[in-house]
């Protein structure tokens, strides 16, 4: 593209008015802004002593959980929709024939690599039986990479841990 191409639209910065040229008004404006903020109440949350306030835990995208049905069984039917939807490829499912009569398959193993997860919530969107959900637990930490790969037991225990504070979105168990 040449400099005289007609498609180039040459812009000029706005010209300063008298107030801008005199420096003084803008000088005072800047100073009052900083002084106001200097004395205004602070927004910092003193974590970890004070927990962050989560406006609506039901729509927060934190650590995953695997929901249980009323009989305490894992709700997942191993349809692989969440693993397919996952843009980070962090969900790994091994399906097996279900021991229960009401469905054909169940996950023999269900692991989520929390270090790869980008917490986008697509798995939750994709799940046809509302088995996988994101909780409002936000401060996830571990001492090794292996520890951060959550297996089925751990994901179910997250459900046990959070089911009272955050009921299942589809209602019922």
């Amino acid at each position: 593209m040449k400099p005289n191409d007609q498609n180039i639209e040459w812009m000029s910065p706005p010209r300063l008015g008298l107030a801008g040229k005199s420096y003084l008004l803008l000088f005072l404006q800047g100073l009052t802004t900083t002084l106001r903020h200097l004395l205004s109440p602070k927004k910092t949350v003193q974590s970890p002593e004070v927990r962050h306030e989560i406006p609506d835990p039901l729509i927060y995208r934190g650590v995953h959980r695997l929901n249980r049905d009323e009989q305490g069984r894992v709700k997942c039917v191993a349809c692989f929709l969440c693993a397919t939807a996952c843009p980070a490829h962090c969900i790994d499912i091994i399906a097996a024939e279900s021991p229960w009569p009401d469905r054909e398959k169940y996950p023999q193993s269900f692991t989520i690599d929390e270090l790869r997860c980008i917490f986008c919530g697509m798995c939750e969107e994709a799940c046809p039986v509302d088995a996988i959900e994101l909780t409002s637990l936000y401060d996830l930490s571990g001492k090794s990479r292996e520890e951060m790969i959550f297996d089925k037991q751990k994901l179910l225990s997250v459900y046990d841990h959070t089911k009272d504070a955050e009921p299942m979105r589809s209602g019922g168990g």
Binding site: P3, F27, L31, H37, L38, K42, T44, Q46
Partner: protein, 424 residues
């Protein structure tokens, strides 16, 4: 002989200890102010180690220092080893040596030392007391700082460092001129190059140079900000453009020397602003008077009070430095140069001429105007104020610092003719 050497050594030890502590704690203050202005709390956790006592984060500078000392000191392979080592040392030494001529109080009564030493003179709170060229010394030594910056930028052998050093060299040299013009007015009015005499004179008349030469004050302040490379003039290390500027390739204790030197520059600039324009240790009704012919007027409470007033004023100026950092956006480099050469130097010259004319014809003008004796100061203040006002109006209307340096373009219609015309 021996007592005077001991006295000087004691003052030097006190000065260096106080300066290092002050630089460390000013980092904390700067971080606090930055945080508060951004609606955060700032460092408030580090207190006494191994306990839960936090002390509002007052342990932070010590933690920072230990961290700096323990960090890996990495020397890139492509640097000029000797200059790379020499640059931060130069910068640091130049920054600290300035304080030899800067008074940090007025005088102490003679009984501060044992009577057996036979000292009858009051002890000046100044490491190099009888330095008749104090102001020149300060500026000469302060000018060495540019070597540290340029050498560091050159020796690092990296494009960011190089540009940072280049910019800094241009900036520091450009703003030396308005800085010197600002101080020339003060020296002309007071007739002495000794900083303690300049303070004593302002204290004697009770009229600070701020009121007598407001134009000089503005010029000196702006140039002082630029010399200390503080925002809005921190182009040598503009993070968005130059990573870290001239100290990009530095780490560990060498980087710390650069950073501490930056803070020392800010402290010395604040000291100079206070001493030259804000009356030093003088405050109306609290610390009036001069040192007296033999210093016999100075008692212990007065001496301590003067130190407190001086340091308090310096602290206020430093707080303003820190506030300014977040109040105004950084200048573009050509704007910085325009401001220095097209605005600050002319203003400094106008101030100098005003002061010179008043120094020569002030008495005659005052008697012609019918001012009562003793009102010459008020006349000078009025003249200075008028000069400031006129200069401000002229600068606003003419706006010499505004410059459009972009390539010119053809008017649109001529481009449509299809001829090969490039912006010239």
């Amino acid at each position: 002989m021996l007592p005077s050497i001991l006295e000087a050594l004691a003052k030097i030890a006190l000065l260096i200890g106080a300066l290092m502590t002050a630089a460390a704690y000013l980092v904390l203050v700067e971080r606090w102010i930055a945080a508060w202005i951004q609606d955060r709390l700032g460092p408030n956790r580090v207190g006494i180690p191994l306990t839960k006592i936090r002390l509002f984060g007052l342990g932070q500078p010590i933690a920072d220092g230990v961290k700096f000392l323990c960090k890996e000191e990495f020397t890139p392979r492509h640097v000029d080893k000797f200059l790379y080592f020499l640059a931060p040392v130069t910068m640091f030494a130049a920054a600290i040596v300035v304080f030899a001529a800067i008074p940090f109080g007025s005088v102490l009564p003679p009984d501060a030392l044992p009577a057996s030493w036979g000292l009858k003179q009051p002890i000046p709170l100044l490491a190099a007391p009888a330095l008749d060229v104090g102001a020149i010394y300060v500026f000469a030594v302060g000018g060495i700082a540019v070597y540290g910056v340029v050498l560091g930028g050159w020796a690092s052998n990296s494009k960011y460092s190089f540009f940072g050093g280049l910019r800094s060299g241009a900036q520091l040299i450009s703003y030396e001129l308005p800085l010197s013009l600002g101080i020339l007015g003060v020296v002309l009015a007071s007739g002495s190059l000794r900083l303690d005499v300049i303070i004593a004179q302002q204290a004697g008349s009770g009229l600070w140079n701020l009121f007598l030469q407001p134009l000089g004050f503005v010029v000196f302040c702006v140039a002082g900000f630029a010399e200390a490379a503080r925002l809005p003039f921190d182009l040598p290390e503009a993070e968005q453009e130059l990573v870290g500027g001239y100290h990009t390739e530095y780490s560990g204790i060498k980087l710390m020397m650069y950073l501490v030197a930056d803070f020392l520059h800010m402290i010395s600039a604040a000291f100079l602003i206070v001493i030259l324009f804000l009356g030093g240790w003088h405050l109306w009704g609290l610390t009036d008077g001069t040192n007296g012919p033999a210093g016999d007027l100075v008692t212990w409470p007065v001496a301590v009070l003067r130190v407190i007033v001086l340091l308090g004023k310096v602290m206020v100026v430093i707080l303003f430095f820190m506030l300014a950092r977040w109040s105004w956006p950084r200048f573009r480099f050509d704007q910085l140069m325009s401001l220095g050469w097209k605005l600050m130097i002319p203003l400094g010259i106008v101030n100098l001429v005003t002061v010179a004319v008043w120094a020569e014809y002030g008495d005659r003008i005052a008697s012609w105007l019918g001012l009562p004796t003793g009102w010459q100061g008020a006349g000078m203040a009025a003249v200075g104020g008028i000069a400031l006002l006129i200069c401000w109006l002229v600068a606003t209307l003419a706006d010499p610092a505004a410059a459009d340096n972009r390539p010119r373009r053809q008017p649109r219609h001529s481009m449509l003719d299809g001829e090969e015309s490039y912006p010239s």
